[in-house]
Amino acid sequence: MDKPFAITLDPGSSLANRTGSWRTFRPVYVDRLPPCNAACPAGENIQGWLFHAEAGDYEKAWLTLVENNPLPAIMGRVCYHPCEGACNRGQLDESVGINAVERFLGDEANRRGWQFAPPLVSSSGKRVLIVGAGPAGLSCAYHLRRLGHQPVIMEAARHAGGMMRYGIPQYRLPRAVLDAEIARLIDFGIDIITSAKVEDVESTMREGGFSACFLGVGAHLAKRAYIPAGDAARILDALTLLHDVEAGEPPLLGRRVIVYGGGNTALDVARTAKRLGAEESIIVYRRTREKMPAHASEVEEALQEGVAFKWLATIKAADEGEVMIEKMRLDEKGFPQPTGELERLPADAVVLALGQESDLSLLDNVKDIEIINGVIQVDDNKMTGRAGIFAGGDVIGGEKTVTAAIGHGKRAARAIDAWLSGRTYAPPKKPEIATFERLNTWYYSDAPKTVRPTLDLVRRQSTFDEVVGGLTEDNALYEARRCLSCGNCFECDNCYGVCPDNAVIKLGPGQRFRFNYDYCKGCGLCAAECPCGAIVMVAEEI
């Protein structure tokens, strides 16, 4: 075209005008720590695996999940999901049903036979002794294996699983699920030797040629309380009861069962008692429902199943066919104080669920390990005072949950890996938490949480069938997609779209975006309209 001078212009010519020079603030992409991830005791990258689940790529989601936690099907059942409590979506409508999706993924993996990705590094040849095949030990072994080491688990019980097998009733964790996830770990190359109680760690390590050791022996000894009891009084401890049920030898409890305690174990026992045929299953707890350490959902489910509660009560004495309880009141500090007011309750059996302790006799010959109140003292890297011996799970106290134990195992494995090569493990610095205030929630449409199906009450009172069902694929997808992806780009294209200067370059699926600072004028629209708060405006140096 023989175009007129100046009046008619060619396309593309404005690119000569680098409007980036106008900028006083520049947008920068950041990744923040999502509150769910921050709250996960197992250190799962929840948002990371939800990202793939949202796309329906469940295998990739599962693979992402198991980078941190090898037991998603178990997690999806027994974890008390602090992640959901931290979830920002809870401030919008309801938190994302992370736990349900996790279970869905775990079950999918079992159903489809998905396997872990091969170890990240080639074999180091280093053998690590792991004492106890509970969640801490399994987790530690798994992560060590991923890091190229050879873990060997020695388990005192006949079957691996620890508290997951001997403490959690089947209606919460079907054994097929447990077995499947343990089997996958064995397939991954972890040696588990059962019925092999380690009596002396030092000698076992020496004899077995182990370069390091992780102690995950758990807390299997029931704490006792002194209760004056007649000879005929039938008093059991919760762990023994649960263990016997698991071993197929349920004890006779009678019609009326009193469970003493307020933790999750107390609830497990009370609900188990119902399933064993008790007409009455009553939990006696010295404080109120609000103060109960047991998880609220468990209390709710127990109530549904007809478990009764006696709040603000202690057992003063037990005798054949009855217990004497004393009513308590809370003082101004919230501590229960006796009132002197007594009451008799008929009871065929009393089950004590007052906590557990560890059997630490295997450390008798180990020097430098400090034990306070039955709890092994470890540093941040879970290493005891004896170099090369690490510990985690219930033995180190703190939060005694499966999830926490898995987290301990992972952290210990990383520390062991470092220690084996003469380093000290330093975890990567965590980014700032993606708080709710950083989100632009306009872009998330309203979508309430999906309620998981539950087993009908009749069956819940007579069988050990799993109470809480899983999600269908549709539901799981829906639930996954409720994730706000707090603090991390999820490729919603808002920045790409809202830039009036086309100064955002879209890099393609999974590649996110890049700013084109040649043209970015620094208006800040991208940051303001980023739903998940993954862009910050930073002052330009002038």
Binding site: I7, T8, L9, P11
Partner: protein
């Protein structure tokens, strides 16, 4: 083929023979008959394919033509008087964008007072808008100039205004030789735009140009218009070859040989002037005339060549630069500045005032005796004007001038015979 035909219809037929693709129109006298005739031809399918757009104003009419022309369509519209002023902004714009629109201006006076009759005030008001301006002497020339206008405009990428006297030509039924389609096709190639809105080559037309290049843009527009001075005689020659008659060109001299007095004028009044010249020549006067066909660009060289032998030049024009005098005359004076020729400005025929042979005879005879002021208003009612001026001197609120004058004249409607 000869036809006894109204000027407007003849022009419409000529335009149709040029195969315009978009015609837009807004009614204003005395242009209306042209677009009415084109509407008929489009409606009946005689002119097809062609889009005839009835717009809501002259401003829109030319704007539609701008859009159409920029899209590569041969575009035409027509207007007059107030209509031309109403589209003034677009008139400049079409030229600035270099769009070869052809527009007929059926010349008419400008208000106030509103007046529908002929003079050249409208075209003169927009003489510097960047359009080529051609003035037709009779309806034959009006027809011929339109055909040449498309050729010229499209070659130069410039819009062309073909001016023909309102009513006097547009409404006159007279003999016109209308060309055949084959002749027009032979003369006028299909429109090959210099720039066009096309997704295949997506240019931006109509950029904002700042001080760094605006002068250059304007200079180039001037240079391009000056190109017309070279092309027009050439196209007129080619026209004669195909159509068999001379038409167009820069200016026509009439009996200027040995003329000591030459009358310069534009448009239909040339016919009356020629009759007067003939009669005066017969009576022994050394007088001739020069009809100017091309007003923009101004054919200075051709005018100097035609007038250099005269002792005096009488510029008779149908427009008035209020506060100065003549417009055509000013241009002629500029052209003749270096020559020892007396130039007289005569303002005539404003608002349809008849220019009669009798008045011209008297005027030219006075001119020959150097008995003219440098600025003369032909057939001005001096008494009437004097009375109003006196009235205004007396009191400030003397009332509306036009009404006062009409009261003095003693008629309600103007008569022109």
């Amino acid at each position: 083929m000869f036809e006894q035909i109204e000027g407007s219809r003849a022009v419409a037929k000529a335009v149709a023979l040029c195969r315009p693709e978009v015609v837009c129109a807004y009614p204003i006298s005395p242009q209306t008959h042209i677009v009415e005739a084109l509407a008929e031809m489009v409606s009946s399918g005689v002119l097809s394919p062609c889009e005839f757009i009835n717009v809501e104003s002259e401003f829109a009419a030319l704007s539609v033509a701008i859009g159409a022309s920029a899209t590569g369509a041969r575009s035409y519209t027509a207007t007059a008087s107030q209509g031309l002023l109403y589209m003034a902004e677009a008139v400049f714009n079409a030229a600035g964008l270099g769009l070869p629109i052809v527009m007929t201006v059926a010349n008419r006076a400008l208000g106030a007072p509103i007046n529908i009759w002929n003079d050249h005030s409208d075209a003169m008001a927009l003489r510097d808008a960047g359009w080529i301006q051609l003035f037709a002497e009779d309806n034959q020339e009006a027809v011929d100039l339109h055909i040449q206008a498309f050729r010229l405009g499209e070659e130069l990428s410039l819009p062309v205004m073909v001016c023909m006297d309102g009513f006097i030509l547009t409404h006159a039924v007279e003999r016109v030789d209308l060309p055949t389609q084959a002749q027009v096709d032979a003369y006028l190639p299909p429109y090959s735009p210099r720039q066009v809105l096309d997704p295949a080559e997506p240019v931006s037309i109509g950029a904002m140009v700042g001080p760094e290049a605006f002068m250059e843009v304007k200079y180039l527009a001037h240079a391009k218009q000056m190109e017309a001075l070279r092309l027009i005689p050439q196209y007129a020659e080619e026209f004669r070859a195909i159509f068999g008659r001379p038409s167009g060109g820069l200016a026509h001299a009439y009996r200027t040989e040995e003329a000591s007095t030459i009358v310069v004028a534009m448009g239909s009044v040339m016919g009356t002037i020629k009759d007067v010249i003939d009669e005066m020549r017969e009576a022994g006067h050394a007088i001739g005339a020069l009809g100017i066909t091309l007003f923009r660009p101004f054919p200075t060289a051709a005018i100097v060549a035609a007038l250099r032998g005269a002792r005096r030049v009488v510029v008779l024009e149908k427009s008035l630069a209020v506060g100065l005098g003549g417009i055509l005359a000013t241009n002629v004076r500029m052209a003749l500045a270096a020559l020892p020729i007396d130039v007289y400005t005569v303002i005539a025929g404003l608002g349809g005032r008849a220019i009669t042979k009798r008045s011209l005879h008297a005027l030219f005879r006075r001119a020959e005796k150097n008995d003219l002021d440098s600025l003369t208003f032909l057939d001005l009612d001096e008494r009437l004007v004097a009375r109003q001026l006196a009235r205004e001197k007396e009191r400030r609120k003397s009332g509306p001038v036009a009404e006062n004058l009409l009261r003095d004249v003693g008629v309600i409607a103007a008569r022109n015979y």
